[in-house]
Symmetry: D2
Subunit: 355 residues, 4 copies
């Protein structure tokens, strides 16, 4: 079975392969009457778009989104919103090598083992290109949660982390790394350039914060807000770890250190700390919701790796195409989109049960 939908009542389905004619998303369950046009979605796609700096893949894709249904006279109608993005730069390249041998770290072998064969052109369905459809769907989700502000950034590349003291949200848009620390951004230029020139790749950590989430969103027990976020983030290509709030750091704290004490506040309790990342018992507490996500280095590298062919012969492979030296960077708008999609769903679920 193949499940290409996500969400319970605010639900989206994506389709499309890296080298097919197009890819897209169908967003179902969106509230009616929200203002929505292509220009509300395009900016998010532009942030994720490849080829915008030398630190991302050189594939050239305009990633122009079209709304094919679900919007009438500039407003959502409550019916499914079909979004389509055409694939333009499907460079006619020789894929015979990838067709024959498995790229280690890629989904090649797993897809073959599952389905018996695979669309080997650019990774087919397992390509990170699919995330364009998520970003488009995420822009619709944002329209459904106008009360929430979502920001993500890269906090670490190749083990080199930002200094929290230097954190400046305004800086995020000023460099090609979505980096909130201007000094780190400078260091990363050399770091990522080095990896790129060496034909290697680097991992990264992305962080995401959602403010304005009211207390009470989250559907215990098996659609807890943190559980849904973990599923959403872990479904992104190259993600290998998810933390809520202090995450693994919390495992090293004592109970009294990890507590988030409360004092009387004007609108509900005032929390004195946010180790929990804004979620308790799977339900939002009104504090900022915080998630950290680990991206592995992409497996597409210009360094040969031992592998086997489809026929089981020993071989070596090295990815010749255009690829990201650090996929985590372009993960930022995708992480934001998944946060928006989870929150929109939880908002509607909360409304369903609690009126």
């Amino acid at each position: 079975m193949s499940f290409n939908s996500f969400g319970r009542v605010f639900r989206f389905t994506t389709w499309g392969e890296s080298h097919g004619p197009a890819l897209g998303a169908v967003v179902d369950g969106c509230p009616p009457g929200l203002a929505l046009s292509e220009s509300d979605i395009q900016p998010f796609l532009d942030r994720r778009r490849p080829g915008t700096s030398r630190f991302t893949t050189q594939r050239q894709e305009p990633d122009q989104v079209r709304i094919l249904s679900g919007v009438f006279e500039g407003k959502t109608t409550g019916t499914p919103i079909s979004l389509m993005i055409e694939n333009v730069d499907q460079r006619s390249k020789d894929y015979s090598e990838v067709a024959k041998a498995y790229r280690p770290g890629h989904a090649d072998y797993a897809y073959d083992a599952k389905y018996g064969f695979r669309d080997y052109r650019g990774g087919g369905r397992s390509s990170a290109r699919e995330t364009a459809a998520r970003v488009a769907a995420g822009a619709v989700a944002r329209a459904a949660i106008a009360e929430v502000a979502i920001t993500a950034w890269v906090s670490e590349i190749g083990g080199d982390a930002i200094d929290p003291v230097n954190f400046n949200a305004d800086e995020i848009g000023n460099n090609p790394f979505f980096c909130p620390d201007a000094e780190a951004a400078k260091r990363w230029e050399a770091l990522v350039d080095g990896a790129r020139k060496a034909g290697s790749s680097l991992g990264a950590v992305v962080e995401c914060e959602a403010t304005g989430v009211p207390a009470g969103w989250g559907a215990p027990l098996y659609a807890k807000l943190d559980s849904e976020l973990a599923a959403a983030m872990m479904s992104i290509n190259a993600v290998k770890g998810v933390e809520i709030g202090d995450g693994f750091g919390a495992a090293r704290l004592r109970g009294e250190e990890n507590a988030d004490p409360m004092r009387p506040g004007d609108d509900g309790p005032l929390f004195l700390a946010n180790h929990a990342g804004g979620i308790a018992g799977g339900i939002s507490t009104g504090q900022p919701v915080r998630v950290r996500i680990a991206f592995k280095p992409t497996s597409s590298i210009l360094i040969p790796v031992e592998t086997v062919t489809r026929e089981g012969e020993a071989s070596e492979i090295m990815t010749k195409g255009r690829h990201d030296p650090c996929v985590g960077i372009r993960g930022v708008p995708v992480v934001e989109a998944m946060m928006a999609l989870v929150l929109a769903d939880q908002k509607l679920l909360h409304r369903a049960q609690c009126g």
Copy 2:
């Protein structure tokens, strides 16, 4: 909305509160003809059972499971399997304090914010007691995936980790910590005792490995094996982080270090490493599936913490009941159960689509 079911085709639903008459699970979609009796389930519940050492809560619960449906003449019939566990030790305690003020780090405030009120007795539905129902359901799942062996253990308590060199799977059952390193287990006695006597609590890291999972399980894109595992683990009480394979460690590797090279093997490729944790593109590769889970220290501590009352007044609270100094320990059988439940579901999903 409240979603108390998990799984797509091998699906379970849990119900019950900490201080209600009973709790239970309904397992739906289990293949017919599997041998199953209460004695197949009870040993798993016994491992999770409270009150078995001074390192866990002193609540005394026999946790005897009853099968109420779905089994006939010792075999599963393919109809829903209803499992019930009675609550016995619901010590009639004074909950007036918890009813009035929110325990920081607990779900108290979040439940109130969501539902308008809450069952405050022992945490109600948000109590870790619910995990008994998961462990029972997990035992049924194991019957459906006889080809798979699942083992979990505690690898770190309060920041003190095991030494991988000392790893000995046989040791796991020899100490009250599910610890595979005999030396670490000795150190942890003092550590956990200290926290217990200080009225404090400790976090922990649990690791879980499933061997025997064939290549091909996993349902891309939004029911990827790793995505489902992340959701499953993050839904466990006190869990704040999930890693697949190298997890956050992968974010510090270079592409060539993180690759899992392949050589020809007798049954498919032989992998020379397992940074990926047995999953690529959301699909199992045939290697062991590996997950790491971070448990926060329980918020139930004997040290007073600043809080507010339901009426919004400043207050202080301290948990007087019987609680776990390190909830991560009893998380081990729960983690194994969730692994089994995810794999059983993915096995059936794979069979549905790929025959």
Copy 3:
């Protein structure tokens, strides 16, 4: 796969066999804060209870319901409501004949073909006894849709229909047939008695009306209100047909006859007819929602029928147990329950999307 759950956000799961220790339902997603106790549920079970007249099966079941979770201090908490009914009169009867040969018209052969074997005691999971769990769940649903009034009745038995002119809702509770036409009820006594004495059985038509449903409930396209009602009713044992509004009668009308013209009214349009049964485009119009359901005669008859054994030998079989001469009669409270369950789900779904 076996799907024992129904509903999208107001969702219930049933479990249990005819001759197991108990049966039950778990209701998930119920709004919090609704007054609910066992005495709110019991009256509906009493209406469905066997053995109350000579026109229904003589199995004696008290059908006492217990609420095991989800209710605290007399109010729903928003967590799953577990309902359990013990089986008392599982007469220790000789089932060896049913174990060996298939009863035509029963699920015996189909269950064997699907699962490889079956619980043959009293039909196991395919027994109409399962509907007790639905009726209990339906009583919870009613609490969630206080604005709606639901009434069902038998309108035809063995081809003998009520006279619409004699329709009197107050009459429904005055006879053992849930018949709104006192004269028909009298005729049916002889009719059903005759069938019972002949060891035969009769079919029936049940009608159900829900008033107070506001305009706007229904989730197009594949969870349309009429589509959900059709699924719900067709899932009841012995049901073979479902009509909304005029149903098959509408297929014989011309467009102008079938239209439901509107005039200005105080609260929205005033409809001059209700051929549509209160649903247009899958969405409620504010008119009474009307459904008709066909029940076949039960296949449990004292008249021998040709059949085959599990081993494929020719045989004859005749049901010796206690059975309903007209199962449609006891279908009335089940139909009402399914109506309530569908409407509660649609109410919450509407609230999710449209606020």
Copy 4:
């Protein structure tokens, strides 16, 4: 909430409005390795296509389908199959009247009541044009159930039924009514012509039979094969009734008349009758699966009907556009598609649980 998906593991989602740029379906969960191209889908769309005779709407739509994903080198890959059909003949017509007043019998008022406003051009999402997407998805489903043959036909128009004696499956394709009785087809010409010229419309009954369905498909209890079929058929525009096997006729039979006796056969039992329509206990028995469906006369007529405006003023309305004098006719390929979609899903569900 709006649910535009159908199916559990073989699942499709449709999108699109009558007068938007396009409409389509995403089919998810299709088994890999099936031969599929646009030419496998197009013939089914051609059968449903408007404008092919004077007995259907004169809207001219080529209904050319494009496969945008999920197929590689002529075979399904196991990833989502995106199907798109462009809307060509969106005649720029004056919809101001429909925008202002509600057409009785249409979804106009219900959509407004639910969503606050509506896309009034040609019925928007509630238009029967959406069924083109179902037909395309159904063609994919047929590829997944090659063992099954599905045939539907019109058995009654405006109360004039075919004579079962004249039933000839080969005749179905020989007339514009999908009528298996050549004589009835002749009578219907005059009948439908008369209605068309009078600006009126007629209802119809469609029957559908699936042969080759093995015993054992069906997912009790709430995804029973008959329950899923009822939901599927009732979700089609203009459908008001669904019968399985004898349907309402069974309610007039006695138990011994309604039984389907069995005799030993070469491959399982030989049934001597098929009152049940091939389904017992919600599971297929190996007999032909039979369904009957009632279509109301379309509400789009040239005869003025009393109505109200959006502002609540009294008015009259009459549909000026191009419409079907008997929508049931073009319902035939849609009914077949829904049958195929339900069976494909049930086949996969069966395989999931029972291997």
